[in-house]
């Protein structure tokens, strides 16, 4: 009978990422053994921190087991037959490969494509290939424990006003609901999770977001206990390295994490998606956005008078949460475009600047409305800066109605905006051409209405589109992204499943 060996290291983030999937394989009955390339103490710590629910044994000090199968990367999944012969070796983390291995053992797939985590992630190099360092390595930072410490309790003096105490002790610019023990306990009724479970570590200071700490901040923001369902995946999303909260929270630019809610959770928790969607219109939107900001400040440490260096800031740093008006949209909503089913609920994060309004009240055709949008989109980030920056477009129901009436799909819209948004070459003339000019050689030249232009965006996917807002008013909005893509911040979408 075939067996599965998983080669791991204690300080490899990809090895930590793969553990829950290995647990699922072991639970399904796959004969699975972990092989750690580290010392017994480090391995014990790894098992305790990750909750690995399968036996993990040590490779020998010469890493002979690893060398035998020519493991160059950890994690590596090695399938062997009963005689120990190699049947398959999968380096790194790859959901497709994990499911193929599950299939090999006749068990159902364990890695969902849309659980929020990346489809694949490279691992670290195997210990026997590392250059040996002199002396004993320093103990690793505890960046990974699944269990945290209980929050500190503060007994207030009898004459101390709790609201004033919170101003003094927690330094927020707005009053908060004091996080009393009673209120915290009530908030924790919104989840079945262990209060000390660490959901993530919030950049840039990496404070541990235990369920309890998330709940304390949710109390301060005025959330109802049911919101814990959304807050848990939201904290995972903001800690996702693709989102890069480290940079988003510290940048001098305008970016703030914009939360977008999709699916049935909108109705279940009364998220608002219609008129005034960016405003103080609904408790769910306002308190969720505020809770995320408090979590980022209090656990992440990027305070607006300190590590958060934003030159002008962003009103969204008070609260920045919208829901898509799926009912007013003829197109697939954001989460469906990102691979989820319509009946699933999701939370997405985009590093966004403030909404910039675009009025078009005269155009009567799809092309007319879209043409107007291209003129505004051309100014994204800085007029002459092309290709490097994404944009988040919120189309109002009236604009969508006009566009859809002419038979346009969401993809048609994205393609049109991509092909027709550009910056005329003449804008780069002059002795001090300014931002964007230095990278002209990387831009793509196209012709728009007979005029040679540089194409503004790198791809149609650089233009994110949702439908939101009230049914009256021909006003849409765009929000500039931050440094986009793998070198900056990528949009992330996580499913809301937990209770």
């Amino acid at each position: 009978m075939a067996r599965l060996l998983a080669f791991v290291q204690s300080d490899c983030p990809t090895c930590r990422l793969i553990v829950p999937y290995l647990n699922a394989l072991a639970k399904s009955g796959v004969p699975l053994k972990g092989i750690s390339q580290d010392s017994e103490a480090r391995t014990r710590e790894f098992v305790a921190q990750t909750g690995a629910a399968f036996p993990v044994e040590l490779d020998d000090p010469e890493w002979r087991k690893s060398k035998r199968f020519d493991v160059v990367t950890v994690p590596s999944l090695v399938v062997i037959d009963e005689d120990g012969r190699l049947l398959r070796l999968e380096p790194g983390f790859d959901k497709k490969a994990i499911n193929e291995i599950a299939d090999l053992f006749g068990v159902p797939p364990v890695a969902s494509r849309y659980d929020g985590y990346p489809a694949s992630k490279p691992g670290c190099s195997s210990r026997h290939l590392e250059v040996p360092a002199e002396g004993e390595a320093a103990p690793g930072l505890d960046a990974f424990s699944a269990g945290g410490r209980p929050a500190r309790e503060i007994d207030l003096a009898g004459d101390d006003d709790p609201v004033e105490y919170c101003f003094r002790a927690f330094h927020d610019a707005l009053p908060v609901v004091p996080p009393t023990r009673t209120r915290l306990d009530r908030m924790l009724l919104g989840t079945t999770r262990d209060p000390l479970e660490v959901i993530g570590r919030i950049p840039p200071c990496y404070g541990a977001a235990t369920v309890q700490k998330i709940a304390a901040n949710a109390v301060m923001a005025g959330c109802r206990p049911e919101m814990m369902r959304v807050l848990i995946p939201l904290v995972r999303a903001v800690c996702d390295e693709r989102f890069n909260a480290h940079g988003v929270q510290a940048t001098t630019q305008f970016a703030a994490p914009l939360i977008v809610i999709n699916g049935p959770i909108r109705r279940e928790l009364s998220f608002h998606s219609r008129q005034n969607v960016f405003s103080n219109v609904a408790r769910a939107n306002s308190t969720l956005g505020r809770a995320l900001q408090l979590i980022l400040l209090n656990l992440g440490g990027a305070r607006p008078d300190g590590i958060d260096m934003s030159t002008l800031g962003n009103a969204g740093k008070f609260s920045f949460c919208i829901a898509e008006n799926e009912e007013a949209s003829p197109w697939e909503p954001l989460h469906v475009g990102r691979g989820f089913r319509p009946e699933e609920s999701t939370v997405s994060l985009f590093a966004a600047g403030s909404p910039h309004g675009i009025s078009e009240q005269a155009a009567r055709t799809a092309r007319g409305v879209l043409k107007t949008l291209t003129y505004s989109l051309a100014t994204n980030w800085s007029y002459r800066a092309c290709r490097a920056f994404e944009v988040f477009l919120v189309l109002s129901p009236e604009h969508v109605e006009t566009i859809h009436r002419d038979g346009w799909t969401k993809q048609n819209v994205r393609d049109y905006l991509f092909e027709n948004t550009g910056v005329p070459l003449r804008a780069y003339e002059g002795t001090d051409p300014g931002e964007g000019a230095a990278l002209r050689h990387t831009y793509r030249e196209i012709v728009i209405d007979g005029e040679p232009c540089y194409q503004k965006f790198a791809s149609p996917e650089s233009i994110k589109i949702v439908v939101a807002g009230g049914t009256a008013g021909k006003f849409s909005a765009m929000m500039q992204g931050w440094a986009s893509g793998a070198k900056g911040s990528e949009m992330v979408t996580y499913p809301i499943r937990e209770v």
Binding site: R149, T180, G207, A208, A483, G488
Partner: protein
């Protein structure tokens, strides 16, 4: 009734570190120049390298660049800077 609050803050205590000792002289030293990969950083560092060599007698200049300015430097990159007597980082545009 006394009120008990539960701290919403990061309870972990930051550890204070002391800065490394300053160099008495640059002559004969190895200086690492770290470009964080913002536009223009390399121009400044090119000039700095020239000045360090010509005016201050620096023996060796190690040039490294972060893959992106938006994220912390990878551990392997920091490892490459380890042998230098001092590091100068070009922070912005």
């Amino acid at each position: 009734m006394p009120v008990t609050l539960v701290s919403p803050m990061n309870d972990a205590q930051a550890r204070a570190e002391t800065a490394a000792a300053r160099l008495d002289t640059l002559a004969g030293k190895t200086i690492a120049l770290l470009d964080i990969s913002k536009p223009g950083g390399s121009w400044l560092l090119d000039r700095l390298e020239h000045v360090l060599r010509e005016k201050f007698g620096v023996a060796r200049v190690v040039r490294e660049a972060k893959p992106t300015y938006t994220k912390p430097a990878p551990a392997a990159l920091l490892e490459k800077l380890r042998g230098a007597d001092a590091v100068i980082e070009a922070l912005a545009d």
